[in-house]
């Protein structure tokens, strides 16, 4: 294709997309003016109905909870895909253990001190966000991501990502499976007890207390476990790939 034809094709496409965009945004409500009824309905009803002050958490794990179960299994499948794709091939040598599992660079003292100082606060923040999912912004997903990223700080500090001699995959895979299965199991409890998947059967608790929201805190913990363990598995698989040496 010559430069001229490419320009013509681009121009036609750009004009088309531009026109569609202008047409689409012209009918949109003005910036900052929310029209739809659903947000207002949730804002009014989530706290009295679910005792969860973080309405978003009540929506994602309860009102549209079955959707989130599907999302969780997208993540589960993605981690499984990474594990399968990055498995050790026949022509790849076993990775060197011990020193070889450390990052190939020598981190500066500043990086090491910063990473190791941040480690404990990061773990605490992750646990806090998981535990307070029903109360304040955040929840199982965000807290789990922070918890899963904590081993990265150890890695940045020049240490092994995980224990060099013990195989970490067993407990990690167990944790991921437990988290993903736990969410479904919690939903099944509702299905068996009331006839509706994820229907709440646990006492709702006092509004604003950490054990409020009925089954929501349990779901936050399950999702946190799944996301955190899944992230570490993915990171570990990527890390191990950089250690494998091709034989040929």
């Amino acid at each position: 294709m010559t430069r001229r034809t490419r320009l013509i094709v681009f121009a036609v496409g750009a004009i088309g997309v531009g026109a569609a965009l202008i047409w689409g945004t012209a009918g949109a409500p003005p910036f900052g003016h929310y029209r739809g009824p659903y947000g207002d309905v949730f804002n009014r009803r989530a706290v009295p109905e679910r005792h969860a002050t973080n309405v978003i958490n009540a929506i994602t794990f309860d009102y549209r909870g079955i959707d989130t179960v599907g999302e969780e299994f997208i993540l589960f499948a993605a981690v499984m895909g990474v594990t399968v794709l990055l498995r050790r091939q026949r022509d790849e040598a076993t990775p060197r253990r011990g020193d070889g599992d450390r990052p190939p660079w020598r981190p500066s003292d500043a990086v090491r001190i910063a990473a190791l100082t941040l480690l404990a606060p990061a773990v605490l923040l992750g646990l806090y966000i998981v535990a307070h999912g029903t109360l304040t912004p955040g929840g199982g997903f965000q807290g789990g991501m922070i918890l899963g990223a904590a081993p990265l700080l150890v890695f940045l500090a020049g240490r092994t990502l995980l224990h060099p001699r013990r195989d970490p995959m067993g407990p990690l895979e167990f944790g991921e499976g437990l988290g993903a299965g736990g969410f479904v199991a919690i939903g099944m409890v509702g299905l068996i007890a009331t006839g509706a998947f994820l229907e709440n059967v646990w006492p709702l608790g006092r509004i604003g207390s950490i054990f409020s929201g009925g089954m929501l805190p349990f779901i936050n913990v399950a999702v946190g476990l799944e996301v955190g363990a899944g992230l570490v598995i993915a990171l570990y698989e990527f890390r191990e790939q950089t250690l494998l040496r091709g034989r040929g």
């Binding site: 190939p104 912004p137 991501m145 990527f238 950089t242």
Partner: protein
């Protein structure tokens, strides 16, 4: 507040363009991280702290996967 929103929105547009215009993957990861922080700030100013938190945590892990991939590719090229 509307000025602040406009400024952050402009910043996100600028950083988004910068991500596309950066061709070296190593530099692109750095610019992408900045873009992620800008996007998180925009979500925060638009009163969506939940989404902002998600953006920050995803932006935390994703660059590392890219960096590890680059380490593997460059080692193979050597």
């Amino acid at each position: 507040m509307i000025v602040l929103e406009a400024v952050v929105m402009g910043l996100v547009a600028f950083l988004g363009l910068a991500v596309v215009r950066t061709h070296d993957p190593l530099r692109q990861v750095v610019v992408l991280s900045l873009f992620g922080i800008g996007l998180a700030a925009l979500f925060l100013f638009l009163q969506a702290p939940d989404v902002a938190l998600s953006e920050v945590t995803v932006g935390l892990a994703y660059p590392v996967l890219v960096l590890l991939t680059l380490a593997k590719i460059r080692e193979r090229e050597r």
